[in-house]
């Protein structure tokens, strides 16, 4: 069992922590260097957390648990106009990032109003590439319960909806969190942070359920092992300027390389046991730029597990 952690500390000697994580059999998912500060998103075997904590203390850094590490979440707003930005959409996305998630803010082309509210085909495809979608809706209950579900009723990923009014549940959504709605100010009060924490809690719960579902028919290869193999065999991944050249999903990943150029090479990544990547995963073009999306086949589909 790997535990998701976030290390924040100085640049000096942080490579020692990275080496320790590798030695313990963990994974480094993201490294952000901001001048003299470094933030590492890591996965560490649960039994060895104390060793990592000890090392972090020695380097005068801090370790915090970041439950959303290894997931990509779509934060969907009806549009990118000032009615939704920067509060609350960006604030929520930022809070999810602080909890380890990779977030993408998506502003819909026709998400506003009642009559025209709908998803385009490419928006639907793009949102379905994520692990979970969080919809940021407005202040009126009748809009949220009677109309806006049209935006997410056809999506395959779990949906969490936020809005202004208090309400127990909304149709087609995994959960609804009230008390946000349209805002013209940031989240400053303790009660407001409690709402953000409840969003993180609800997302973790939804993702845990998805993980449990995956365990019933396990993936043919661990996504993190696959990530390591790709990084080693295709060094161009490391040359990407994106902060996360490989963005992890629960059952695959997004690789930020051009599909046409790298499709064959990715398919032919070899495992020491014999099979190639195309035996254990499906490679397809992403709706985001020219990137690749990789979905790992389950054990029952691939016929074996590595």
């Amino acid at each position: 069992m790997l535990e998701p952690l976030m290390y924040t500390g100085g640049v000096y000697r942080h490579d020692e922590l990275m080496e320790l994580v590798e030695d313990l059999g963990g994974h480094l998912l993201q490294k952000n260097v901001m001048q003299l500060e470094v933030v590492l998103l890591i996965l560490v075997p649960a039994d060895d957390i104390s060793e990592v904590e000890q090392k972090a203390a020695e380097l005068l850094g801090t370790i915090t648990r970041a439950p959303l590490i290894g997931t990509e979440i779509a934060v969907v707003a009806p549009s990118l106009a000032y009615h939704h930005m920067p509060h609350p959409t960006c604030d929520i996305a930022e809070y999810l990032r602080r909890n380890g998630a990779k977030t993408n803010i998506i502003g819909l082309a026709r998400g506003v109003g009642r009559r025209a509210a709908q998803l385009t085909k490419s928006e639907r495809g793009l949102i379905n590439e994520h692990d979970l979608a969080l919809f940021i809706l407005g202040d009126f209950l009748s809009c949220i319960t009677d109309v806006k579900y049209q935006l997410y009723e056809d999506l395959d990923v779990p949906i969490i909806v936020t809005g202004g009014p208090e309400c127990d549940a909304v149709p087609y959504a995994y959960a609804y969190i009230g008390g946000i709605g349209r805002r013209a100010k940031g989240f400053h009060r303790e009660s407001e942070f409690a709402i953000l924490d409840s969003i993180v809690g609800m997302i973790s719960k939804a993702l845990d359920e998805r993980r449990e579902e995956l365990e019933k028919d396990p993936l043919s290869v661990s996504p993190f092992r696959l990530m390591d193999e790709i990084t080693q065999q295709i060094p161009q991944v490391g040359e990407s300027l994106s902060p996360t050249p490989i963005t992890m999903h629960l059952d695959g990943m997004r690789i930020k390389l051009p599909y046409d150029e790298y499709y064959e090479r990715i398919r032919n990544v070899k495992f020491i046991e014999g099979p190639t990547l195309s035996d254990v995963a499906e490679v397809r073009p992403s709706f985001m730029r020219e990137y690749l999306i990789l979905k790992i086949k389950t054990k029952s589909v691939a016929g074996f597990a590595l």
Binding site: G113, F140, S142
Partner: protein, 187 residues
């Protein structure tokens, strides 16, 4: 009495009304119009759908003329303007460029401008605080109104603003309702 804090929202959805009230106060104070727009009343019904806002406008500052900003003296080099109030220099220069062309204007330093003319410049208005205020008020109201409500009818004078927005073509009854709000407020 100017009570900028008071925003009265009427809606069949009570929770929504409370949230819109909070949002309106935040937006008005954020955009610096809280003291210029007061006695605000909003009617919003998402089922219709309609958004009606009425508010009184505070009296703004008088228009700024060239004589308020600079003193003019005729010299051998042309008309010399000594700037008294630097805040409106840009507006003054814009006006001069519009009238005389860029080639005939020379700004010697921060406080001195030379214009190649022998005549007096007519004392024109260079900055209208009322127009600026109206622009800011309409901008803030558009931020309060739901984004999908793109069909807008508004009426803005020096005393009040009436703003009706909807997703559907504006109905006569909504305009009547807006007029009634104005009447109730004595306008």
């Amino acid at each position: 009495m100017i009570d900028s804090e008071k925003v009265a929202v009427e809606s069949p959805d009570k929770q929504g009304a409370r949230l819109i009230e909070e949002l309106t106060s935040d937006i008005l104070s954020d955009l610096d119009v809280a003291h210029s727009l007061y006695n605000i009343r909003i009617f919003i019904d998402p089922d219709e759908p309609v958004f009606i806002l009425y508010g009184k406008l505070a009296i703004s500052l008088p228009d700024i003329k060239i004589s308020d900003v600079a003193t003019m003296t005729h010299t051998d080099d042309g008309l010399k303007l000594d700037i008294k109030n630097e805040r409106y220099v840009n507006d003054l220069l814009d006006k001069l460029v519009e009238r005389y062309g860029k080639a005939n204007i020379l700004q010697l330093d921060r406080y001195t401008v030379l214009v190649a003319t022998d005549d007096d410049i007519p004392d024109e208005t260079i900055y209208e605080p009322t127009t600026e205020l109206k622009r800011k008020v309409i901008d803030s109201i558009r931020r309060v109104a739901p984004e999908g409500y793109r069909i807008i009818k508004h009426d803005i004078t020096d005393d009040y603003v009436l703003f009706i927005a909807s997703e559907e073509p504006i109905k006569q009854e909504w305009i009547n309702q807006g007029r009634r709000l104005l009447k109730e407020a004595g306008l």
